[in-house]
């Protein structure tokens, strides 16, 4: 059975909205999003990266930290605090990125909702950024989780611009 590909839209200048349908019941999808061992099996990050650690305290006020490793030992992590956790339908949390030893980026608010419909699950992930610049930066980063590939492209574009 094939599934339609993910849709990504920008409803306002500070938001990204990600929508995807899965051929599975909601409680299974919920598990893959909240069980660290399962998360590591699919949320790799951009091409060439893998998830290396996943610390989860999934309850209101609990914190989490997910880390990835990329080519040439590059490292990246995302951490934050849960605001709402309503299994199997809703998670709201803050998210902040760290890149290698660099300073942390600003904080964004992510809302994940799962809706079950005829044995399928519709996932919507809405991410609200503190500014248009932060949102655009996330889009440029390639997956909002991998600055590596994004910085390379940015360098290419800037080099092209300078060469004009």
């Amino acid at each position: 059975m094939s599934t339609a590909a993910v849709k990504v839209t920008t409803p306002t200048d500070c938001e990204i909205l990600i929508t995807r349908t899965f051929n599975a019941p909601r409680d299974l999808v919920w598990k893959t999003l909240s069980n660290p061992e399962l998360l590591k099996r699919w949320l790799f990050g951009p091409p060439g990266w893998t998830m290396t650690s996943c610390d989860e305290d999934q309850r209101p006020g609990g914190s989490f930290r997910w880390a990835w490793q990329g080519p040439d030992g590059a490292e990246m992590a995302m951490s934050g605090v849960y605001r709402e956790v309503v299994p199997p339908e809703r998670v709201v949390r803050t998210e902040r990125f760290e890149f290698g030893c660099g300073p942390q980026s600003g904080e964004q608010v992510a809302t994940l909702v799962l809706v079950e419909q005829n044995d399928k699950t519709i996932l919507t992930l809405n991410i609200i950024y503190p500014s248009k610049e932060a949102r655009d930066g996330a889009l440029q980063s390639g997956m909002d989780r991998g600055l590596e590939a994004g910085y390379e492209r940015l360098e290419q574009i800037l080099a092209e611009e300078q060469g004009k």
């Binding site: 590909a5 993910v6 990504v8 899965f22 399962l38 790799f44 990050g45 248009k132 655009d136 997956m143």
Partner: protein, 121 residues
């Protein structure tokens, strides 16, 4: 006008957020046009069209010719390509992860089905 890269992306998205501006870009994709020619299909005055053109110019999507009489408008597709490229790469990266999730879910469903077929004690 050279904008910093994320400003450029933002300006492009703002430019594209309006259906009239998208229609103007579609028309210019088929060839240069004067403001008068662009205004024709819309129930809109030339000054109103000019306002839209200013937004498109700021985003670097449209450039105006120097011909004093006509000042034709021309489509500059590069910023559009950049913005589309970023969004598409972002989307593709998510899709790659979600396809792995599809496989994992199939595996989990199969495991659940097997378990339910075991003879109960």
């Amino acid at each position: 006008m050279q904008l910093a890269n994320s400003e450029q992306l933002n300006a492009t998205f703002i430019a594209l957020a309006d259906p009239t501006r998208r229609a103007i870009l579609a028309r210019l994709a088929t060839g240069d046009a004067s403001v008068m020619e662009l205004a024709e299909p819309f129930a809109m005055s030339q000054p109103a069209i000019s306002k839209h053109l200013k937004v498109l110019e700021r985003a670097g999507l449209v450039s105006r010719g120097r011909d004093a009489q006509r000042r034709p408008c021309r489509l500059d597709a590069k910023p559009l390509e950049e913005a589309t490229k970023w969004l598409e790469t972002y989307r593709q990266n998510w899709e790659a992860s979600f396809q792995r999730l599809d496989d994992l879910l199939e595996e989990m469903k199969a495991t659940t089905a097997k378990k339910s077929k075991r003879i109960p004690k």
